[in-house]
């Protein structure tokens, strides 16, 4: 039985740990979902394409600092309903808001190494960029 994307996203957001692997899970799911939205038929969706690239960079920032961050972490590759792309975008936005919440909590943690803090600040900027791109009107 297939789970609808918004439900799967909700389950992920509510159960994900508020740490770096949790952040990785959210960004990974958001990146792939954005990619699938951009790959759908019809005119090229510039906003989704650019957002997908920003999210790819964000995942890489995490993996570059912590190569094993994804090991064993939940990795969702969701297939959006291309007939209702706005719902897919809403799901991405839900993932990104949750990711921002986790990152904002981690950045102010004085126990986190400063290199991680700087990496998180770059990740946050990339998430912000992706959200702006997704908010652009679609062709």
């Amino acid at each position: 039985m297939a789970t609808p994307v918004p439900t799967a996203v909700e389950v992920l957001v509510e159960n994900v740990a508020r740490d770096l692997p949790g952040l990785w899970s959210l960004l990974y799911a958001a990146e792939l979902l954005t990619l699938r939205l951009a790959d759908g038929p019809g005119r090229l969706d510039a906003g989704a394409v650019t957002a997908g690239m920003a999210l790819r960079d964000a995942v890489e920032e995490l993996e570059w600092t912590h190569p094993d961050v994804g090991t064993g972490a939940a990795a969702l590759d969701l297939e959006p309903d291309l007939a209702a792309r706005d719902r897919g975008r809403d799901a991405v936005e839900r993932l990104l808001r949750a990711a921002l919440g986790i990152a904002a909590g981690l950045v102010i943690d004085p126990g986190l190494p400063v290199d991680d803090v700087l990496m998180l600040a770059r990740v946050v900027a990339l998430i912000g960029h992706a959200r702006q791109q997704l908010a652009r009107p679609r062709p």
């Binding site: 789970t3 439900t7 650019t50 990795a75 297939e79 770059r122």
Partner: protein
């Protein structure tokens, strides 16, 4: 802090404060009317970082440092040039330095500058035994790594700052003037940081062919030529990063999709572009899960980004397509045929040196059947050299991309249910083979 503050403590604190400032910008709206204050804070941090970079490299002490062309001073100079450019842009666009709104990060960076300044007299003579450490180019480059990281964070926050300032009531035209949109800034900042570009590669950026700027089509042709050149070079590099291959594939998808959208291109070109886009998307998905020990090349990234934006603009119909546009498009698609061939060679070489790694969850049952080590990797979901079957599928996808036909089979499988409990409609999870 107990005892006198050290340089390390101060710069670490400054980085944390900057990260907090930029994160708050991304997560919370500014109060109405606080837009100009936030822009002023950005300028204050920029000025503090600029001052600090000058303090570290000691322009007053070594006016000739810019003439030293040693590997160790190259990133230093790149960072200084980058900061100078940013500062000049900010001043020209009307954000004047000082008096600045209070912001913790700027204050701490300035404190770190003041700390360094206590070790030298106004004429640059050492005043302490530690001054000698601060004066070595190698030590300076190390200190500037952190400055460069901070500059990257600051510049990465600019798009968010633009949005927040506008939300807080600064007129959009004013935001555009004060903080002009700058593409590829992350790339530029990374390059300024001098890392993580492997040694020996940085000189190449200087020797690259220039990009003509006479209109979008001219730039498109120039960028594609450079990407093609890079694809060729990559096939002979000892340790290329998979990220660069992904950049090629992502760009190819966008360029081919845009070409397929081009009205008036004729059925054969449209169909070829559409099929190649599907094939390249398969390549991209296959590369997506691969990892290498080396990072991507920032120059390729910059060209790829520029090309993607150009393709999106052309695809969105900003330029009215004529025969010239269609001829250029055709040439671009031909270039990507070459790129597919060289990229496939790069992948094969990397795999033959066991330099191409795949996470266990993406290996299929048949991939691991005759390889106990890969089976172990699949069970523990760790990185292992790419299975031969996976490599074959990836090479097939490259061949399809080069030929402009749809690929016969996907490169990747969806992760097993052990790792994903939710699947989209119509998808069943492949079992553990």
């Amino acid at each position: 802090m107990t005892g006198p503050a050290t340089y390390g403590q101060l710069t670490e604190l400054a980085c944390r404060q900057l990260a907090e400032w930029s994160t708050r910008l991304a997560t919370e709206r500014l109060p109405t009317g606080a837009g100009m204050t936030a822009i002023g804070q950005y300028r204050a941090v920029l000025a503090a970082l600029d001052r600090h970079a000058h303090q570290v490299t000691g322009q007053a002490r070594h006016p000739l440092i810019d003439e030293l062309d040693e590997p160790v001073t190259r990133p230093t100079r790149a960072l200084r040039v980058f900061l100078d450019t940013l500062t000049r842009t900010a001043t020209e666009s009307g954000i004047h330095p000082g008096p600045h709104p209070e912001v913790a990060a700027a204050r701490t960076w300035n404190a770190a500058s003041d700390l360094l300044a206590t070790h030298f007299t106004s004429s640059g003579e050492p005043r302490s035994p530690d001054a000698v450490h601060l004066d070595r180019p190698g030590g300076q480059a190390a200190a500037l790594q952190r400055v460069a990281a901070a500059v990257t964070v600051l510049q990465a926050a600019v798009p968010t700052l633009r949005l927040r300032a506008a939300q807080a009531g600064v007129a959009w035209a004013r935001v555009e003037t004060l903080l002009p949109e700058q593409r590829d800034l992350m790339v530029a900042a990374r390059r300024a940081a001098g890392a993580p570009v492997p040694a020996g590669w940085d000189g190449v950026t200087v020797a690259r062919p220039g990009v003509p700027v006479d209109g979008r089509l001219g730039e498109l042709t120039g960028r594609v030529r450079r990407l093609r050149h890079w694809a060729w070079r990559l096939a002979t590099q000892p340790a290329p990063g998979v990220r660069t291959l992904t950049d090629f594939a992502t760009t190819a998808v966008i360029v081919h999709r845009a070409a397929a959208d081009l009205p008036g291109a004729g059925q054969p070109l449209t169909q070829r572009a559409r099929d190649a886009a599907t094939a390249w998307a398969g390549v991209r998905d296959g590369l997506h899960h691969l990892r290498t020990a080396s990072p991507g090349i920032s120059t390729v990234r910059a060209d790829a980004h520029a090309l993607q934006h150009l393709a999106l603009e052309l695809g969105a119909g900003i330029d009215c397509p004529d025969r010239h546009a269609i001829a250029v498009t055709s040439a671009v698609l031909n270039a990507f045929t070459d790129i597919a061939g060289w990229n496939a060679a790069t992948v094969t070489q990397l795999a033959s040196r066991r330099g191409l790694l795949l996470r266990g969850r993406y290996m299929t049952g048949s991939d691991i059947t005759d390889h106990p080590d890969l089976a172990a990797a699949k069970l523990s979901d760790c990185l292992a050299p790419i299975p031969p079957g996976y490599l074959d599928r990836l090479n097939d996808a490259y061949a399809a991309a080069a030929a402009g036909r749809s690929p016969a089979r996907p490169v990747t499988v969806r992760p097993t249910p052990h790792h994903t409990r939710a699947h989209g409609p119509g998808r069943s999870a492949p079992g553990l083979g």
